[in-house]
Subunit: 228 residues, 2 copies
């Protein structure tokens, strides 16, 4: 990634945290090792106590940053979608042709995440795996409506919106642009999950096949021939 990204700070809804983790060393350690430990143990077995041991800090100190691990997950997912949104905007901004723009957007959303050293304390490859495995758990809760009202999912919704608009630009007659956008976002995560755990339920085995699958899906839905 470029320098520009390295210098910007992603804005996360302030209600998600009690103290901004980007404001201190300990905060950054919580994020950095939180990602690693959630990935290692899975969200269910992950606890603040274990994270405390891992970073040589006290459990109670972590609670000063996040109310609970659910909020930490909301923080991480918001960060991830914000990061992806930035890449989307950055990569498609200069493209004039509507079809090419959408094609690029699908590529950004569906491609495999590679190491990105922009944010030194965040491992985007691991974070992507967390999103694949745990993102659903952040909204499949009884509190989803309340938390949605608080704006906890605003970055994701903005991203879906951008995609939806790009889709509508290509074919303004298409009646389901937002559903298609959300299918793309969710479905892409799901295809990667299937590739890792239910191989028989997907044809996407190669590195770029998720992109090929969704590019085909979207452009066929819009009744546009997809010739590069």
């Amino acid at each position: 990634m470029d320098r520009l990204l390295r210098s910007i700070k992603l804005e996360i809804n302030e209600k998600i945290y009690k103290k901004d983790p980007q404001s201190s060393e300990l905060g950054k350690k919580i994020i950095e090792h939180g990602i690693l430990l959630i990935h290692q143990l899975g969200f269910e077995d992950f606890t603040f106590k274990k994270l405390g041991v891992q970073i040589g800090s006290n459990e109670s100190s972590i609670y000063r940053y996040f109310e609970n691990k659910h909020k930490l997950l909301l923080y991480l997912t918001s960060w991830y979608w914000g990061w992806l949104e930035y890449q989307l905007v950055f990569s498609t901004n200069s493209i004039q042709d509507k079809n090419q723009k959408l094609k690029k957007a699908i590529e950004i959303i569906t491609r495999e995440i590679e190491e990105d050293s922009s944010f030194s304390y965040i491992n985007e490859v691991i974070l992507n795996k967390i999103i694949i495995n745990e993102y659903s758990k952040s909204y499949l809760t009884k509190e989803v409506d309340k938390e949605n009202k608080e704006g906890y999912f605003i970055i994701y919704k903005r991203l879906a919106d951008r995609l939806s608009e790009m889709i509508s630009l290509v074919n303004p007659e298409y009646p389901f642009p937002t559903s298609l956008a959300s299918t793309l976002l969710e479905g892409s995560l799901h295809q990667y999950f299937l590739r890792d755990h239910f191989t028989s339920l997907t044809e996407c085995k190669e590195s770029n096949s998720v992109t090929l699958y969704f590019t085909d899906l979207v452009f066929n839905s819009l009744n546009i021939k997809n010739n590069g």
Copy 2:
């Protein structure tokens, strides 16, 4: 639903339960009120202790049927997919035309669930809501590969397989039949979730719009005109 279904018993992988809940009154009560209570509290807040209170039974008695609530969820999801598979096979069996067959299949998978009194102790409408809200949690775990090997997801995979085959029959050249089938199954649940909680992320507001959306999506992907 018809009489036939009322008399068959869905076969669930025996490793999922310690004692077959279909074999006793208490077992059926666990399933019946388990569904209601998971729906009411959400899976996270649901406990066997609370279920025990609800059905006037002891916590320890429930543990004799299921090792833990995760296994109960696996049981319920298996039952649901088995039930849906049965409807799929039953409804499409006699249709000769490949396109019509697939179209019917999509309808079965994506339609809203209505009251079905075939299984007196199982409320399929509520169970469907549980699937929408909790199904992902049954496989987004660290144990998924082990449990997959044990065959806990076999019914779902069989259903996806049937769909995939119907897709391939319509267009044998289509390169992603299984991915499309899994997108359909997962995506349908997701669109219903969005309809209930993230209205701005879907165009599917009416009762049959999820069906319309996915019918359009699938047939366009297969490059087949969908004129009824």
